[in-house]
């Protein structure tokens, strides 16, 4: 590992330690409640750093791979991906339709952008598109900042781009497919378990809260709907490995990225694990997956056509 990367890594670790100390000393020793549970602004940054360390680990393990080269083309694609993601998420944020859920998670068709950019141009471009695009998108709406969600979106693009790290495209694609299948199944099982126990649901209709059971039902199974759509696309385009691999990896990226952000909210916002998975992960990741299954193949097919035409 060269010197520069080493210094970045150590800086990240040092910052992480400082934040953890702040939380430990402030939260546990001095008993400052704002640093323990509830909406916790300090922990957000801890999770950003944990996420960055995770991406660093992947990079370190595969650092010989060409996918990590960043040249002129990658710099421009990063900027395009991030700007498109910001513009689309700004324009579609709440203007198309909104499903009520925890923490203002809304339907975001724009999620197809970091997935496509990650898959087409590699993990670095995907990460930048997702993370910076989400940051600017939030800034455009003038709405706070949730760095852990920016990082989660970055991971969506990053994992989608990990497709290029494997030599055997077909095999890696199938593993991505089945890992995501298992993870979605687990989430849905949690959803059905917690449907029967009403006290676990964050939105209780008796209290006059708008998020009602029917929408949760759709949100709860939407990830399965999305998974089935991905499966259909995967086998319908068995010949066209690009489209099949793009949707499979996008799905894994979506589950890992959104899962990371939602699970970090267990500590940041003090949700119960059930509330984080059922109330936040499913209503965000499920619809995302439906958008991914439909929009990513369209983008990949269109880009293929451009490549054949221009010969690049």
């Amino acid at each position: 590992m060269d010197k520069r990367l080493q210094s970045i890594l150590w800086t990240l670790i040092a910052v992480l330690v400082v934040f953890l100390l702040l939380i430990y000393v402030g939260g546990n020793v001095f008993g400052v409640e704002r640093l323990q549970t509830g909406e916790n602004p300090v922990l957000r940054f801890v999770f950003v750093i944990i996420g960055l360390l995770l991406t660093f680990l992947v990079y370190y393990l595969t650092k010989e791979n060409e996918a990590w080269q960043v040249g002129t083309r990658e710099v421009v694609w990063m900027a395009i991906g991030a700007a498109l993601y910001a513009v689309f998420s700004w324009l579609f944020n709440g203007t198309v339709f909104v499903v009520p859920s925890l923490s203002q998670v809304s339907l975001r068709p724009a999620i197809a952008i970091p997935m496509f950019f990650g898959y087409a141009f590699g993990p670095v471009v995907g990460f930048f598109s997702g993370a910076v695009g989400n940051m600017f998108g939030d800034a455009l709406t003038g709405f706070g900042l949730s760095p852990q969600w920016s990082l989660g979106n970055g991971l969506v693009g990053f994992v989608a781009g990990m497709a290029v790290l494997y030599k055997n495209k077909k095999k890696s694609m199938n593993s991505a497919l089945w890992i995501s299948g298992v993870l979605s199944a687990v989430a849905v099982v949690l959803f059905f378990l917690n449907r029967n126990m009403e006290n676990m649901m964050f939105f209780a209709p008796e209290e006059g809260i708008f998020g009602d059971a029917t929408i949760s039902m759709f949100a709860g199974i939407s990830i399965i709907v999305g998974f089935l759509l991905v499966l259909i696309v995967r086998f319908a385009f068995n010949e066209n490995i690009d489209i099949a691999a793009a949707v499979s990896w996008s799905m894994l990226g979506n589950i890992v990225g959104i899962g990371f952000a939602a699970i970090s909210d267990i500590w940041i916002n003090g949700f119960s694990p059930e509330a984080a998975i059922v109330g936040e992960f499913l209503p965000a990741a499920g619809p995302n997956l439906i958008f991914a299954a439909i929009l990513v193949p369209l983008l990949v097919a269109a880009y293929d056509a451009v490549q054949t035409q221009s010969g690049r």
Partner: protein
Amino acid sequence: MLVSWRYRDRKSLIQWFDPRAWLIFYGCFLATTLFFWDVRFLAPLALLSLFVLITSGVTWAEMRRAFLFIIGFVFFFAILTFLTGRGGVEVYEKEHLVRKFTAPFTILGWRPTLKITVERLFFAASQFVRVFSIAIMTILIPYTLNPALYGVTFKGLGLPDKIAYAMDLTMRFIPTFGRDFQLTMDAQKARGYELEKIEGGLIAQVRKLGPIIVPVTIHAIIGSEDIIDAMDLRAFGVGPRTWLQELHYQTKDRILIGFGVFMLVAAVVILFLGYGDFWVPEALIQSLAK
């Protein structure tokens, strides 16, 4: 063709400072605001942001659209919070009922009821102040940050050359793609495309987004070839980058950064002392609650 943000040279408080110093200050302001739910601490921050807005020299005509959009957005969320109690549940435990409305009908066995409580009213107000001050500070940035300085500003904040340049390009592309989106939308509408028309299932609806998202994205990628060529011809990324304009911190910038850091540290200290959580005036509870 690139469309740019509405930046122009103004004699104003923001533009008097070095852009790096302002961004650092902005970061501190953001973090400080996010720490608090207490209106007594949020109010001075909101006043500060209003002061910055008034001295920014951005005219109403220039920022009307963005401003109205954000005001609408902030109101929407404050009202949503008020109606649903969403988010507030974590901050307060007891609610004092002012009035309760019950709908005379049921939807699928669920009877809509609206409880107006002192806490919800005040929480919506606190959230309004909080989001409002963040929003004002955020929308001023594109109006007041010189596009020629984007790259060197991000570089000056410690990002590597390539990432700084990518951030620079991102900021420049956003208004352009916004325009492209609008153009594509109009062109598709002229061909009979109807995004607003709600019919068909979920999948049909998602597919409807294709005719907008695909052309805008592919057009952007094809257009990027020219930018890539231009950058390659100027030997982008071959050696360490130099910037046409350099930035130097002056005393006023150091003071601004110092002020920002002081604000942040003070906020942390106040939190440690146990203040800053959601607060409702006792008098209000006594006068309103039954």
